[in-house]
């Protein structure tokens, strides 16, 4: 080969006590290449990135940067060698400025000990100019959008003269438009000779920007594929080790309306005048842009945010939704968007996480019967297929998909009849995704009414019987399955005449 690989892994093996996390991992990334690292959670991607960035050390095997063997003992070593990491959860200090964040840990000094803010801002502006000149280096990070923060993080890598940039799920909280602008930045970087390692569960994005990809499973490389000449289904099959059937949607809608929402408005958000019904066994999808009020609507229904006006009826009875407790008592359960922040109690066992809202059901005269919790947890967690099936294990030790199953189990244990799923498959892998879809269908078949908010259009279209599109806190349209197409959903989400003030709203509900 004419050029040396920018990055080359040769036989990397990593063992932890009792587990072999990586076995003989070898592949190379050329300068200017955008290389996808693909695999389900637990396939070993994170471990490999940790080794690359000097957080952990390989048990055996070597890797080379520009042909020189790398011995990174600490993250500083990796940075000095031109390896930059961009994490899903940004490592930034919100109250500091863009420039301060970019020089965090190694500030520019003047007279030996004073921080040279002006010079920092000048250089930060220089780095930002290459990718997004609209960002002011003197602004506090907290005033930036998530996508802009990602850009700052990339600019920081440029400042460090990074030759290799590894990105771990950089787009998990970005809108499609934001992704496009980030993609442009990434392509620009690659064109300048930087090697990019791109980790994402979003296949569309991977196929959109990556040239080739290394597919991992169970700590081993199962193949290196040319993404321009491979089908998405084939890559997924390689990742999960089996064919994932593109299954048909099964409808379980019955005739009776269970949830009736009329003219619902929020106190603190822009959700206004929302009306819709959900029938028994129905899955109602909610699509819309980020900020269109989807999450906020679910939070109203779950009693988390305060209702300003309107009514919510369940089985004909008007509900008082003052707080989550009252919503739960009424049979409504919320699977929150941010699982870590709003879903799990990390160090408590799965069984307790499951039983938390329904502890009263497991108590006799004020004493909780742990045997009863255990019995019920075994039943329900088996139904949702928790893996590994260890109900006493702290929930933080489970993968995202399995944490999600445990939260679903929480509402089954509480007997919830209305389930509100907010981005149920965000950040979880392809295999677990399919399981969640099955579970949604199963729960609908049992007669529950389900509302699913999702930013992934194929997902909404896969699980929903009807889709409600939201825009600016209001309902833009409610579409039956016959009218479902990505085109149609996007049109309603953006608004026919984007930018024009909407004087008339369509109020359609069945």
């Amino acid at each position: 080969m004419a050029t040396t690989a920018r990055l080359k892994f040769a036989g990397i093996t990593k063992t932890f006590p009792g587990v072999k996390a990586l076995t003989d991992v070898s592949f190379e990334v050329m300068p200017g290449e955008i290389h996808a690292l693909l695999g389900e959670n637990g396939a070993g991607k994170s471990t490999l990135l940790k080794i690359l960035s000097g957080v952990q050390r390989a048990t055996s095997g070597e890797f080379y940067v520009d042909g020189a063997v790398a011995h990174f003992r600490r993250p500083e070593h990796a940075r000095a060698a031109g390896v930059a990491m961009i994490y899903q959860e940004l490592q930034q200090v919100p109250n500091l400025t863009v420039a301060q964040n970019m020089f965090l840990g190694h500030p520019l000094k003047r007279a030996g000990f004073l921080v040279d803010r002006r010079e920092q801002e000048r250089r930060a502006a220089e780095a930002l100019a290459m990718i997004d000149p609209s960002i002011d280096p003197a602004r506090p990070i907290r005033e930036l959008k998530v996508a802009q923060r990602q850009v700052v993080e990339i600019a920081r890598a440029l400042l460090d003269k990074a030759k290799i940039i590894a990105m771990d799920e950089p787009t998990s909280s970005l809108t499609p438009a934001e992704f496009e602008s980030l993609a442009t930045v990434i392509e620009k970087l690659a064109a300048s000779g930087v090697a990019i390692i791109y980790v994402s569960h979003k296949m569309d994005e991977v196929f959109r920007i990556c040239h080739c990809g290394t597919v991992m499973r169970d700590g081993q490389v199962v193949g290196v594929v040319d993404l321009k000449a491979t089908r998405q289904e084939d890559v997924i099959a390689m990742m999960v080790g089996r064919e994932l059937l593109q299954e048909e949607h099964h409808s379980h809608v019955r005739d009776d309306v269970r949830l009736e929402v009329r003219n619902l408005s929020s106190v603190k958000t822009h959700v206004r005048d929302v009306s819709f019904d959900v029938r028994r066994g129905e899955v109602l999808g909610i699509a819309g842009l980020v900020g269109s009020g989807r999450t906020e609507l679910l939070r109203l229904l779950a009693g988390v945010d305060l209702i300003a006006g309107g009514t919510v009826k369940f089985d004909g009875k008007v509900l008082k939704l003052n707080n989550p407790r009252s919503a739960i008592a009424a049979g409504i359960g919320l699977l929150p968007e941010e699982r870590k922040r709003e879903g799990i109690i990390p160090i408590r066992p799965v069984s307790i996480n499951m039983a938390l809202p329904s502890l009263g059901r497991f108590a006799i005269s004020g004493i909780v019967r742990h045997s009863a919790i255990k019995k019920r947890a075994e039943e329900i967690l088996k139904q949702v297929n928790l893996r590994p099936f260890q109900i006493d294990r702290p929930i933080k030790l489970f993968s995202g998909g399995n944490q999600q199953k445990a939260i679903i189990a929480r509402w089954l244990a509480a007997g919830s009849q209305v389930l509100l799923f907010d981005e149920p498959t965000r950040g979880i892998d392809v295999g677990a995704k399919a399981e969640i879809y099955h579970l949604i269908e199963e729960l609908a078949a049992e007669g529950r009414s389900i509302v699913v908010v999702s930013s992934e259009l194929p997902e909404v279209m896969r699980v929903s019987d009807r889709v409600m599109v939201m825009r600016n806190g209001r309902i833009a349209a409610i579409l039956g399955r016959a009218d479902l197409s990505e085109q149609n959903l996007v049109t309603h989400a953006v608004g026919e005449a984007a930018g024009k003030s909407q004087t008339k709203q369509e109020h359609r509900y069945v």
Partner: protein, 324 residues
């Protein structure tokens, strides 16, 4: 690590399984300290001295149990000493004025409830930070005790009250019996009631607990009320022993209580803590002081030893928890 290991073995017995690996570590620490003093101090392990240690630890253990619940909920209660002082001077005043003993006890405990309620409401309903709230009430409550008594001790506590708190039951000091009973109740509360799970959940992740329908405010207020009540109970034990109530009583009690809870495995980040561990932690501190006093070690060095044992316990904690 300790949490997982404590749960995974094939449940030998219910009681044993509630005794976590972390608690076992605290127990080993206690055994080591007892062993060292047994070598250095003749008669240290005599029945009399062991009972002595328990008695000397009982007041701190009582406070530390309440503190543990507050810490588990993600808070802190710096005001336990002054709470105890108000309860002490008011109970003592009632006793000296000839009011019946039960009334004085109920009033004292009532003061504890009230002080805890103020803390709890400010934290849970007003939404202030626990550290600041209880730092404020630390001064406020102390001032109330001083103003109420004019700074003078209340002397002449009647013998029937003293017999109750400073007597003994089958050779065991009543303070030890009382605190053992409190510990049993606290253990049940934490392990067997919804409020115990709520405390762990609120401290573990308040936002998730809220979305899951946990009554956040009620849970927090309960923790502070219990802490205040136990501080008042501790003060009754003390004035029973001393026969007098001083308004400056309970100075720096909060620090010993926090130390006992932390040695016992409570995490100041919230969500974690153990009744058994806290009791063992209080006994460790008590045994240390007892042993060093018997060795005629200067008080300065006792303070030094207390400080070192806390730091040592935390370091062991960090190392054994290892990779998290």
């Amino acid at each position: 690590m300790s949490d997982i290991a404590s749960n995974s073995p094939a449940r030998p017995s219910r009681l044993f399984s509630s005794f976590s690996v972390r608690d076992a570590g605290t127990l080993i620490g206690l055994v080591l300290i007892l062993a060292v003093f047994a070598v250095l101090v003749p008669g240290f392990l005599s029945e009399r001295n062991l009972i002595n240690i328990l008695q000397q630890s009982s007041i701190n253990a009582c406070l530390a149990l309440g503190m543990t619940l507050v810490i588990i909920s993600g808070g802190i209660d710096l005001s336990v000493g002054p709470t105890a002082a108000i309860a002490a001077v008011i109970s003592a005043t009632l006793l000296v004025s000839g009011y019946p003993v039960p009334l004085a006890i109920v009033s004292g405990l009532g003061i504890g409830v009230l002080c805890g309620l103020v803390n709890g409401v400010l934290v849970a309903h007003v939404g202030l930070q626990p550290f600041i709230v209880t730092l404020g009430t630390l001064s406020t409550y102390r001032a109330i005790a001083l103003i109420y008594t004019g700074g003078n001790p209340v002397l002449g506590i009647p013998p029937e009250f003293r017999a109750l708190f400073n007597g003994s039951l089958a050779g065991i000091p009543s303070s030890v019996v009382i605190v053992a009973a409190v510990a049993a109740v606290a253990w049940i509360l934490l392990k067997k009631t919804p409020i115990g799970e709520y405390l762990l959940a609120v401290g573990g992740n308040e936002e998730a607990a809220y979305v899951s329908g946990v009554p956040i405010a009620l849970t927090k207020v309960t923790a502070y009320v219990i802490s205040g009540t136990l501080a008042a109970l501790a003060s009754l034990i003390l004035i029973g022993r001393l026969g007098a109530a001083e308004p400056i009583l309970g100075n720096l009690w909060e620090l010993d209580a926090i130390a006992a809870a932390a040695i016992g495995g409570a995490s100041l980040m919230g969500g974690k803590g153990s009744v058994i561990g806290t009791i063992l932690g209080a006994i460790i501190l008590g045994a240390m002081r007892n042993g060093l006093t018997l060795m005629n070690v200067q008080a300065f060095y006792q303070l030094l030893a207390t400080g070192l044992i806390i730091l040592f316990a935390m370091m062991i904690d960090r190392v054994t928890r290892g990779r998290e």
